[in-house]
Subunit: 320 residues, 2 copies
């Protein structure tokens, strides 16, 4: 059943010995929402613990400062920021079909829980958690809760830069300041600090930067040898695809990454060119500004193939 914030608070008040589920490959929003909810429940005198398929990345350890997980036989299950049971991961499969409450912000939410509070226009699940916190008169929005909620809204909006950011997102962030959240540290950890191997692979990718079509298209590539040389893990490549589009004047950014017997191509574009149209021609797909495809060939042919499609699209745009 779809519920509102007040009903959600009433349902939580009836619960105890609660397992809070975060999605696999956890990010700042699912963890921020999960731990914020834990601290809220703790103030209500309830036992809860956060569970996730994956180990929580060490950079998020500041969310766990006041966290003492307890052993208990769960009576209730709550999922946060999880649109689909598929995102539980195999370690949490046992909870499929058993979720009492889901708190989320994805329009694609599958309504797999008994009750769900899903706010589609929220940039982060943590925006919803804030309202739940205010829904309990006796709960104080403490510093650690503020750190959790700020982490969710900041990371899910790329530090207030993505188009999902709203005036409400800023209002939430502003209220977390009043509760003393440590935004400088949180943003440094989430947006500035990089592992040495991540910097090494960025450097290698930058060294391959080529401009095409009068500087309107930029291309970088990452070969198998580069991955081996730098020791960069798959998880450290996130965001690399945004690099070529950072060059002034570039409308289409291409990132080719070796995988199996060919190259995975990530395409990023501005308003002018449709990235999903480019990838569609090569059997891939995605969104207007971010799409991908796979080309089974060596580097030189993969470059040639994708550049040819990009060139045709740019010509078409110009002809309009």
């Amino acid at each position: 059943m779809e519920i509102n914030v007040q009903q959600c608070c009433e349902i939580l008040r009836e619960m105890d010995d609660i397992v809070i589920l975060c999605h696999r490959n956890p990010d700042g929003d699912t963890l921020g929402a999960g731990f914020a909810l834990h601290y809220i429940l703790a103030q209500l005198g309830k036992r809860s613990r956060v569970e996730c398929h994956d180990v929580i990345p060490p950079m998020f350890s500041y969310l766990l400062l006041d966290y003492k997980p307890e052993e208990f036989e769960p009576k209730n299950i709550v999922a946060v920021d999880i649109a689909d049971e598929k995102l539980f991961g195999s370690n949490l499969e046992k909870y499929c079909g058993k979720v009492d409450l889901c708190i989320d912000h994805h329009g694609s939410n599958k309504h797999y829980a008994k009750n769900w509070l899903v706010r589609e226009n929220a940039a982060a699940a943590c925006e919803v958690i804030e309202d739940i916190c205010y829904g309990f008169e006796e709960v104080e929005l403490s510093k650690i809760i503020a750190d959790c909620i700020y982490t969710g809204v900041s990371t899910d909006t790329g530090c207030f830069r993505y188009s999902n950011t709203t005036g409400h997102t800023h209002a939430v962030a502003g209220r977390m300041f009043k509760a003393g959240c440590d935004f400088v540290k949180i943003n440094r950890l989430n947006f500035e600090v990089k592992s040495f191997s991540r910097i090494a692979i960025e450097r290698e990718a930058l060294n391959t930067l080529e401009l095409h079509y009068d500087g309107r298209c930029a291309l970088v590539y990452i070969t198998d040898e580069m991955l081996k040389r730098t020791g960069a893990a798959e998880s450290e490549l996130e965001g690399i695809a945004a690099m070529p589009r950072e060059v002034e004047g570039v409308e289409v950014g291409l990132t080719l990454r070796w995988r199996d017997n060919g190259y995975k191509v990530s395409v990023r574009s501005g308003e002018e060119v449709d990235a999903s149209a480019i990838c569609g021609k090569l059997g891939g797909g995605g969104h207007r500004c971010a799409a991908g495809c796979y080309i089974e060939s060596d580097l030189e042919s993969a470059k040639e193939t994708i550049l040819k499609v990009v060139g045709e699209l740019i010509e078409k745009e110009d002809a309009r």
Copy 2:
């Protein structure tokens, strides 16, 4: 005389044919404040124009969309975001001693104007401009004014990451969303887009990255040859000094940059180590987390000199 917002609005209401001054090497806050004020004055039926010692960087052209500078003999002079007449630049020297009103947020403001409205706890001059806008009942906070004000608060806080950001800064940003500001485009222009030569010099600097003292200190350098090879201008080096501190685990980031007969050293540190203490030992200075000094020597000796001082400081910290 020090004035409040209401007095400031009354003074502006009495003015006409107004020259608005921005500081030299103009940034998003001085330009955002200057053009926002121009659009406010235009709604009041007053003639004004924005003047700056330097040419306005093309990336800020979106601030000028509704701007039609007019020719007139100025009757009044208003300075925005300018703490000191020294920051006028030689082209605006003629206005020294003639400023009627200064709107600013620098605690160091020299009170050189006849009247000044200086809010020290504001992260940006644009936060003050917002209040001035509300001070005129008949002025509407239009989209272009919102774009100007958002530009100021976002750029002066590094997109809400610097420690000067407050809950009020977020509240201002949130209100600009309601007025339809184009935050995605503004942040892309200010925080993502880089010239090809900037990317080239970043790449060259990254290629020199060295770790010292068990990875607690990172060093990059930029030689004369690198500047010549990439064609990077002085103005394109801004922010490069932040790069070495982005490496995970690094407490002290060092950037050596060739100048004249030696190297300008930029030191960036976290809470653990005092950057100004490091630079102080070599005749420089600055703040706790960001400081600089100059070492007149070749690259190898400059590196040796600064690394020795850093090593001593790190040892001292550990002994505590």
